[in-house]
């Protein structure tokens, strides 16, 4: 019987609760905060920061910071980022106090306007200085808001990407897709807020919920590793009979997901499945199987699962990933790897993590500015390996083949992820020839573009090993294979009958996990 035992849930570890703050900057930011309050975000302190006093007064956030008392005197910035920047600088002390002891700070802002574009980078900087990790949710303006705003937004976004640990960028234009054409414009704006609120909430619970297969900060950062990129985010929840399917469908429907099409290009995808005590392994399997159809075989899946009594009957799935934009300035990886290294320790002592993170932070920013090309970054990683051929390759034309080969490159890495005993046994059966051949190709190819984040994967991979239940993961995967190969019996070669996401050719008792013997 594969059903997860009901009393399996790990005891909640209170000391793991990380102090979290959510700062909304500008009008869009406070709108997003309001939405989070409506949605019942209870785990973080909400701070609204705005130049416009009126808007600030109407915000429901617990604490409020008025930006630019002297500069704007309670009015807005009139769309001038410089004014926003000055205002935020002026309120520096207040902001610093507001950030306080938080270890994780979410910034929500709408870029394009004065306060958002101008103040957000300053606030992000301040937040970093307090030693917290900063995840920025930025909304890009609608195309119809004009090129000037778009340019301001773009500039601010670049700035934020240098400063924040991760930037999740929402494009308002995409939000339009989920809103009916006839709906009012406020609904389109609200759609962005809802999505941001969902993301913040799910990321918070993602990090804070003690999981059977835990997802930590490191995994999150790995998934968001490509900066200057398009972030894929999806969250779905369902309590129907067919909840794995429904939740996944809903998650893929998220405008940032592009119905899962983009997922196939992602290098790594973070998936967390959360459910009440009644969640079964087979449900998780069904969900992952279905998700796998959207993901290429070489994608690294950072999988986590959580049993949370409060979920009751519901099952939720959170998918986070990012795609590198072509020719992206990749500054994050350099920072990320070191930040990942201390992660195993936070479980024991959170403080250790804080100190390395910020100082490394400054490094990548500089590097990214000065040299996005191939040469400089090899050294931080593994100098001996990368330097020799670095200059011979010219990155741009190589990008495509590289990505393809890198995709295959992930294969051995994935094997690394599973515990070594596991790898051995699997290797015996099938994968022996591959690893032998692969590394050579891999090494040649790696050199030209070492700043690509994926190179760092092997290191990162060590952290999941520390997770409480790595075996669970691999067991689940093997089970899937078995199911796939035996269960359709007579209908093996016929067109599958898929209704409501279930393959009806598979015997009902197997799908429902009813024991018949």
């Amino acid at each position: 019987m594969i059903q997860l035992s009901r009393n399996y849930s790990l005891p909640e570890r209170e000391e793991e609760i990380i102090p979290i703050k959510v700062i909304g900057i500008g009008g869009a930011g406070s709108n997003a905060l309001d939405r989070m309050v409506l949605d019942g975000l209870d785990k973080g302190d909400l701070i609204a920061a705005n130049t416009d006093v009126q808007s600030l007064a109407s915000s429901v956030a617990a604490s409020k910071v008025q930006l630019g008392r002297g500069v704007t005197r309670g009015l807005g910035t009139g769309g001038d980022p410089q004014l926003g920047l000055d205002a935020a600088t002026e309120a520096g002390d207040e902001l610093r106090t507001a950030c306080g002891e938080a270890r994780l700070i979410f910034l929500c802002t709408g870029l394009g306007g004065g306060t958002g574009s101008g103040a957000a980078p300053v606030v992000a900087e301040l937040a970093r200085e307090t030693g917290a990790l900063v995840i920025t949710f930025a909304t890009m303006p609608f195309a119809f808001e004009g090129k000037r705003r778009a340019a301001q937004a773009q500039e601010a976004l670049l700035e934020l990407q240098k400063i924040s640990s991760a930037v999740i960028c929402f494009e308002n234009d995409l939000m339009g897709d989920i809103v009916a054409p006839k709906a009012g414009i406020h609904q389109a704006f609200a759609a962005a807020d809802v999505t941001i609120s969902q993301s913040v909430r799910s990321i918070i619970s993602l990090i804070q919920r003690p999981g059977l297969i835990r997802i930590g900060f490191d995994d999150l950062l790995a998934a968001l590793r490509n900066s200057n990129s398009r972030c894929l985010f999806g969250y779905g929840e369902s309590d129907s009979d067919n909840r794995p399917h429904d939740a996944l469908t809903q998650a893929l429907k998220n405008p940032l997901m592009d119905r899962g099409r983009m997922l196939s290009d992602a290098t790594s995808v973070l998936v967390q499945v959360a459910g009440g005590p009644g969640m079964t392994l087979s449900e998780v399997e069904i969900l992952m199987q279905e998700l796998n159809r959207h993901i290429s075989d070489d994608t690294q899946i950072l999988f986590g699962t959580v049993v949370d009594g409060r979920m009751g009957n519901r099952l939720s799935v959170t998918i986070i990933s990012s795609l590198a934009a072509d020719g992206a300035v990749v500054s994050k990886p350099v920072f990320e790897r070191p930040s990942a290294a201390p992660v195993p320790s936070p479980q024991a002592g959170p403080e250790t993590k804080r100190s390395p993170a910020p100082e490394l932070e400054s490094q990548p920013a500089v590097e990214a500015d000065t040299a996005p090309e191939a040469e400089p970054s090899p050294s931080p990683d593994e100098p001996g390996k990368f330097v020799p051929e670095a200059e011979s390759a010219e990155p741009p034309p190589l990008v495509r083949p590289l990505q393809m080969i890198e995709a295959t490159l992930n294969q051995p890495e994935l094997a690394d992820e599973t515990p070594s005993e596991e790898t051995d046994s699997i290797g015996d059966i099938a994968e022996v020839p591959e690893p032998a051949a692969m590394p050579q190709i891999v090494e040649q190819v790696r050199e030209p573009e070492p700043q690509q984040p994926r190179v760092i994967l092997p290191r990162k991979k060590t952290t999941p090993l520390k997770e409480p239940k790595p075996a669970e993961n691999s067991v689940a995967k093997q089970e899937v294979l078995q199911f796939e190969s035996v269960t359709r019996g007579r209908f093996e070669k016929s067109e599958p009958t898929i209704v409501e996401g279930q393959d009806l050719d598979v015997p009902t008792f197997l799908r429902k996990n009813v024991r018949v013997k």
């Binding site: 269960t487 209908f491 009958t497 209704v499 009806l504 015997p507 009902t508 008792f509 429902k512 018949v516």
Partner: protein, 403 residues
């Protein structure tokens, strides 16, 4: 006997191919002259997957029917099923020209054409468009508007469509024999013609035809078809489940299902077993009856639940006054009606063709409902050319591009 009165229904099922030869009587009844059948091969889930083999089987069945009924079969009505068949309701409307206010036959045709002007997937073809009700100038529930005065004629149609090539495959399979295809009929629609009386149709009834490869359903409310469709699950799936759950070969599983299978749970003594004899008569495996029934029960319950959810997408299931009629090969399973009652919360019964004369004993078998229904349908279509008052609501077929 005029040849036009001879009607042949051919159902290419997943487990058997069935040919029913019938003769229309002047009083509107039908006499069954003979039934030919052959085990079906090359058909999965109601669709032909092996053309050559399926053709041979059809030929066998036709020859069998010819021998038994002592007639020469030239043309047939063919039943089609398959999960590709879908349906929806649509309303068409036409305005009468200024200078005329009496509705005539042409307007009826026009309104039907109008109702069909909806987008179905490009690879699909219309199979049926069945009139539900007419509305004349907002007056609801008009059964036959010809001759009525009005300015605006509207009509609700139930439109059934399916993938063109798959339907054509079935047609071609028959034409190569060679036999003429008079018409192609959705099997559930055919089955409903003989399972339900007009009275039951007007009270509201659901017909579920659980065959070998598919479960076809059709829902009548107020005497009109409101919902219909196909679920690609049938008796084969039960057999497959048994075969895999008990680890026995398919043929054995099929036999076990037919001979011992039941749907009800908790009806067996604890530890009650079924002896599985192998071909040579030696006692083989012992199988716990409850296990067998559990497998069948789970599959059928799921099928009914899926069906229920599908039906609940529209409100019509709430208007069923008469109940559920289960037919098709799988309705032989003991207790299936109770399960349906439990799932749908409606009275359910196993039903077979009612309104036939002739070799009744042979045909009071739910397996033949659809094939016999084809004949009834054929008769209805022929009679319908001169409508006999609202009973039969099938006004010919939309067949464009298929023949």
């Amino acid at each position: 006997m005029a040849s036009s009165d001879l009607m042949v229904g051919l159902e290419i099922g997943t487990s058997k191919i069935c040919v029913v030869v019938g003769e229309g009587r002047p009083d509107g009844t039908i006499k069954i002259l003979g039934v030919g059948q052959a085990p079906s091969r090359g058909v999965r889930k109601g669709e032909i997957v092996d053309f050559e083999t399926a053709m041979k089987c059809v030929h066998e069945a036709v020859v069998d029917a010819e021998t038994k009924s002592d007639v020469m079969i030239r043309s047939v009505y063919v039943g089609v099923a398959g999960a590709h068949i879908q349906s929806f309701n649509n309303r068409g409307s036409v305005s009468l020209p200024e200078d005329r206010d009496e509705i005539d036959e042409q307007d009826i045709e026009d309104v039907k054409t109008n109702a069909r002007e909806v987008s179905i997937p490009s690879q699909n073809a219309f199979l049926h468009s069945i009139i539900q009700h007419y509305h004349v100038d907002g007056q609801d529930g008009v059964l036959n508007p010809v001759g009525m005065l009005g300015e605006r004629l509207e009509a609700d149609f139930h439109i059934i469509h399916g993938v063109r090539t798959r339907i054509q495959n079935t047609i071609r399979c028959v034409k190569e024999l060679p036999l003429d295809v008079e018409d192609v009929v959705f099997t559930a629609l055919a089955a409903a013609q003989v399972v339900l009386t007009p009275h039951q149709k007007s009270l509201g009834a659901l017909v579920i035809d659980i065959g070998g490869g598919t479960t076809d359903y059709i829902l009548y409310v107020d005497g009109a078809v409101k919902q219909s469709g196909v679920l690609g699950v049938g008796g084969d799936h039960i057999t497959n489940d048994i075969s895999m759950g008990l680890r026995i070969p398919m043929t054995r599983a099929e036999k076990l299902k037919v001979e011992e299978g039941a749907v009800t749970l908790g009806n067996c003594l604890p530890g009650e077993t079924v002896q599985l004899k192998d071909d040579s008569g030696f006692a083989g495996k012992e199988i716990e009856r409850e296990t067998l029934n559990t497998i069948i029960h789970l599959r059928l319950r799921e099928t009914f639940e899926l069906l229920k959810r599908k039906l609940e997408e529209e409100p019509f299931i709430n208007y069923i006054g008469e109940g559920i009629f289960i037919t098709g090969g799988c309705s032989h399973l003991k207790g299936i009606d109770h399960l349906a009652e439990e799932v749908f919360e409606l009275p359910a019964r196993v039903a077979h063709a009612q309104t036939m004369s002739g070799l009744t004993s042979a045909f009071e078998n739910p397996q033949f409902s659809a094939a016999i229904g084809l004949i009834k349908y054929a008769q209805a279509v022929q009679v319908d050319r001169r409508p006999t008052g609202g009973i039969r609501r099938i006004f010919g077929k939309i067949f464009s591009g298929m023949r």
